[in-house]
Amino acid sequence: MRPDPNCLMTGRLFIDGDHACSEGAIAAGCRFAAGYPITPSTEIIERLALRFPLVGGTFIQMEDELAASITAIGAVWGGAKALCVTSGPGFSLMMEHLGYAAMTETPVVFVDVQRGGPSTGLPTLPAQADMMQARFGPHGDCRFIALCPNSPQECFDLTIEAFNLAERYRVPVLLMMDEVVGHMTERVVIPPADAIDIEPRRYTDRAPGDFRLFEPREDLVPDMCRAGQGHRVHVTGLTHDERGYPVLNAAAQDRLIRRLRDKIEKNADRIIRLEEKGLEGASVAVISYGITSRVAERAIELARAAGVQVGSLRLITAWPFPADRVRRLAQEVAAIVVPELNLGQMVLEVERAVAGACPVISVDHAGGAVHPPERILDAILRAAKEGRPSSLGRSA
């Protein structure tokens, strides 16, 4: 399916990541947004509030983030593609409804422009400290997809991808931006409509009496139905059967919760997107995401100039985590360096995948700025010196 060309700002723009996210949402077919303004995400809903009336969309400023998130979910069940937008403190408030969206398999997009936390923290300054919240935020076992753009262009591209993945897997997708990417202004190229793929909602072709809202197809994802076409549906946060009716016992819980996990885990190879640069023959690998990946690239340039063979694995998809790729990488390199704007979050997942096969060096940061590239450079140089000797010998 293609976007409506009349709604696209096809061309070259000089805009920030927040505005690029708004344009990506419009391109993806999103026509409903609910939000409560919070720095550094406010520009996203400001632009949507301006642009939506021109493209037939609706933006509602809600009384708080709980209301914003549940309103977006309601809009999805009413037939719209919808998103809600927030930053740290608001993201915490949205956790209840993020879990509800996972349980009800609602294809909705949550955008979190990360700032320093916890609590009110640093409203106008960056962090990447909500990454584990994007995995384990709500109570109960649930799985999401989380994407990490590192430029305004990618804010546009990955917002479209977020909507497509949400529809394909009937799952909430989290766009995990950060303050720098959100407020950084660069060239953004918006392609013509025929160069953009958008995923239509998976509507059933079954007759009302023959349709079950939570009956999975072979890819473990169930179809949806159009509101008002005669299908009687029941959507609940309670544990439910394939009709959507509450079944409150261990067997139903086991069946549902394992499927919600498996539809993401078993499709992980199709979901995960990585960017690999210079890893062939590298003795050190840097794993990073979001704005930190660009700071890391600077450090990598400096390290190469100092004679270290170092490559980069960028997590465009943070969740599901690319454990298989990281496991293989740990066999190929002498050491892995993980810089991130938190005190060590995704590095835990890297360590879990590496399982001791090579040293993993965390380059942490409490947030409020990006790393000085020299800190990442120091870690790369240390990794090259202290890494697994056999691998160092092989690549030398």
Binding site: M184, T185, R187, I291, V370
Partner: protein, 183 residues
């Protein structure tokens, strides 16, 4: 061309961010270069310290922050005091000569003053002082082309103010041009 780092500092309301936006747009959309602009401001709408960082390069820009500006534009005394130490040796300082007392500068700094606010007032709207600065910057540094700057202005300012903003640009540009030819 290596990466060119620019910092513009002043007060909220002077159009600091808009000036950086126009220069970045000129480079990224019309001169076929890469540009990354980052802004820093407080929660206040007007009157507080405000600055913009702009990097222009022939190649994609990785690290987005300005670490050692080669070009510094200051429109307030505070911005001058705060940012002058960051200017690289041999760097270029542009300043509003009515608002910033530069005193004794390091010998390597090449300084160019413009009465931006006063020139804007002569056009009847002091709000266009930032366009005077954009014109002055374009003439002195040559980092963006004149045509690219004009195109970026047309795309950026409200249509009803295009003519006035372009006049401000030309006034700043000719002031810079005259200053260069006198040296």
């Amino acid at each position: 061309m290596a990466s060119r780092e620019i910092k513009i500092g002043g007060l909220g309301g002077q159009g600091v961010i808009m000036a950086a936006m126009i220069l970045g747009k000129a480079a990224a959309l019309h001169d076929e270069k890469f540009a990354t602009m980052i802004q820093a401001f407080g929660p206040e709408a007007r009157g507080a310290a405000c600055s913009a960082q702009l990097i222009i390069d022939e190649a994609p820009i990785l690290y987005p922050y300005v670490l050692a500006p080669e070009f510094l534009v200051t429109l307030s005394q505070d911005a001058f005091r705060q940012f002058l130490p960051e200017l690289v040796e041999g760097g270029v300082l542009l300043y509003d000569e009515d608002l910033v007392q530069i005193g004794d500068l390091p010998a390597t700094v090449r300084a160019f003053g413009v009465p931006a606010t006063r020139l804007a007032e002569s056009l009847g709207r002091k709000q266009v002082l930032n366009l005077i600065v954009v014109g002055f910057f374009t003439a002195i540094t040559g980092l963006v082309s004149e045509d690219a700057a004009r195109a970026a202005i047309r795309e950026t300012v409200p249509p009803s103010t295009t003519a006035l903003n372009l006049r401000a640009f030309e006034l700043g540009f000719s002031h810079g041009h005259a200053l260069l030819s006198r040296r």
